[in-house]
């Protein structure tokens, strides 16, 4: 059923974040971490969320999955996942949404796996924790459309052999424990192969400490995929990995996105990654989205002074002039600047900037910017 409903919804946006404000209550006062974030994620796209450390990228991600720390408070806003406001859900509904609709992959693969349980058990646990979903999954694993999505090849030869049995399973049919275990293992192995882990059968039995960083991150991605999410949040997933592995993981992510038919929000501070991988990009500064555009458009024609500054700060091998940087430093969000939060560092600031907070306006089709220089 979950599979069907996904196909029937035709609305363009998977996720809409509207005017999201999040405060952190600390002993020193309230840190206004998010200051009216506006974000739309379209179906099937990879959206890059860029910004420097502490600008609110991760806080945005955590508020979407509802895992903000205790001292954080959502002051206002809406987070609509296919039209359903996640902020209005009960704890239990939110838990189920995390189980089946939104997945998040975190930064450091070393610490996000349970150290005492082997990889196989961890991934099968995710698969079978909701029996009904698991059976739906098995049904689709036995059907052509699922296989079709994995580049026309059957998901795994072993699952293909089970095809007859799989076709007879319905979401409500009763399965014996042994069979659940056996089929879950097959399905888990197919996901481990999907993320291109070499020798999946062996990795299945291994414990996290026996895997390298890249392998762990692949295993974690497999676990995220195993839930067939509509939205995958990748929170700096390559930061803790070395450069060659980074490239592999990112390429993998792009491939997988096609296969599992999910939208991806890629959080990063690396503009090169955005240029390489993303369809659109949103630039964040001090708790605000300051500019959103198609990646090509953003790099060719940056409008916001901050985006311009960022792009100029990328070192180029062919240039002989001194590398430019943005003057000043990131504001203390305990006492954020009034009006536009970028104005103290902005070379184009004028008298209205400290007074008016600029709204995000569309200056050309698909290109949004929050700056008084462009109206608003």
């Amino acid at each position: 059923m979950a599979v069907m409903s996904r196909a029937l919804v035709t609305k363009d946006a998977v996720l809409e974040v509207k005017d999201l404000r999040v405060d952190f209550h600390t002993y020193a006062g309230d840190v206004k971490a998010l200051n009216g974030v506006e974000l739309t994620v379209k179906r099937g796209e990879i959206l890059g969320l860029v910004g420097e450390s502490g600008c609110g990228k991760s806080v945005t991600a955590l508020s979407i999955v509802g895992l903000l720390p205790q001292n954080a408070e959502v002051v206002s806003g809406e987070i609509l996942l296919e039209g359903r406001d996640l902020l209005r859900l009960t704890k239990e509904e939110m838990r189920l949404a995390r189980l089946g609709e939104i997945a998040i992959v975190f930064q450091d693969p070393a610490t996000y796996l349970n150290p005492v349980i082997n990889i196989g058990a961890q991934i099968t646990e995710i698969l079978t924790s909701d029996r009904r979903r698991f059976q739906v999954e098995l049904v689709s694993a036995g059907l052509k459309d699922f296989e079709g999505r994995v580049q026309g090849k059957p998901l795994s030869p072993a699952l293909e052999k089970e095809g007859r049995r799989l076709r007879s399973i319905t979401p409500s049919s009763r399965m014996r424990r042994g069979e659940v275990k056996r089929l879950a293992k097959l399905l888990a192995l197919s996901y481990l192969r999907m993320v291109k882990l070499p020798d999946a059968a062996r990795v299945f039995k291994m414990y996290p400490f026996e895997l390298s960083g890249g392998m762990r991150q692949r295993a974690i991605i497999a676990m995220a995929l195993a839930r067939r999410p509509k939205l995958l949040l990748a929170d700096e997933i390559t930061t803790a990995l070395d450069v060659t592995v980074q490239a592999q993981i990112l390429r993998l992510l792009k491939e997988l996105k096609e296969k599992i038919d999910a939208s991806v929000v890629l959080i990063t501070h690396d503009l090169a990654v955005v240029a390489e991988l993303c369809d659109r990009a949103a630039v964040m500064y001090a708790g605000n989205i300051v500019e959103v555009a198609e990646v090509k458009e953003l790099f060719a024609n940056p409008l916001h002074p901050y985006t311009k500054g960022l792009l100029e700060a990328i070192p180029r091998p062919d240039s002989r002039s001194e590398l430019k940087s943005i003057a000043g430093s990131v504001p203390d969000l305990l006492f954020p600047p009034t009006g536009c939060r970028f104005h103290p560092r902005c070379p184009f600031a004028f008298d209205r900037c400290p007074k008016v907070a600029p709204p995000l306006v569309e200056v050309s089709p698909g290109h949004l910017v929050a700056c008084l220089l462009y109206g608003g």
């Binding site: 999955v65 895992l67 995390r98 189980l99 997945a103 975190f106 150290p115 349980i117 414990y207």
Partner: protein, 317 residues
Amino acid sequence: MTRESSSSAPSKEERKSSHGFRREVRYGIHLLRKNPIVLLGSIVALGSIVLSLSSGLVVDQNSWKTTHIALRLCWNNPIVNWNLRNVYDCAGPTTYTLGTDNYGRDVFRMIILAIPLDLRISLEIVLSAVLIGTVFGGIAAYAGGTLDELILRLTDIFLAIPSLLLAIVLATILGRTLENLTLSVLITWWPTYVRLMRSQVLTEKEKPYVEALRAVGAGRFRILFRHIVPNSIYPILVQGTLDIGSVILTFSALTFIGFSPSPLIPELGNLVNQGIEFVFTAPWLIIFPGLTIFIVSLGFNLLGDGIRDIFDPRLRR
């Protein structure tokens, strides 16, 4: 060709042993070898467990009920000469290795019967305490707030009263049976486990993988009991093994001061208690049961130390 086969064989072997249970066992054996005292402790502890399981084959389980007044307080083991004036020589052909007691029973057999009894009681107490500690300590730490406060204050109350005294009071109120004695020791024993588990879970629940579990929509009970508890149970298991010896000590202390339901019961503390009257005429009555208490509890203490070495990640590799 031969070279090839010889180089591929060990790699296969290595692969096989590179993970899982066998590797752990090997590592355990390696640690034991490095530390002979722990090895000694493990042998004593395992020995007493094996003895407990097989004592029915060695000694008639009901022999402690039969008394032979004619044979009381005698010693005919030629290896030891006590040089005491009033030692009776046992009549008859049987040699009593460790002499006989005031009821004419073979002390050696009484000890063989007493070890399983003490060990069983000790295990009952420790296992229940581990279970209570795991469940309540885990819930307290994971739930936090009022529940945490409530459980903590409850352990405070029990920890504030000297444990032996509390056990004595409880045993007096409940009545003198072995079950009640077990219960009263347990009541003084569980709070430490709750606190230990709580502190473990408190540190464990802040780890990223717990956040990841919440991110995949795992329920509270699954997170706590399937993921956090297995990660934080090792110190509790170590404490439990160490405590098997301590509980034997505490329990025999209780029976030694007279809480045994019957003077005949073959329980180590009770055996010492029964012998105390005859310190000068039949010293073996307190020496050998006392020595047994010492050896068994020391054995489990050393085993506990060894297990701590095996489980402690800081000492690993």
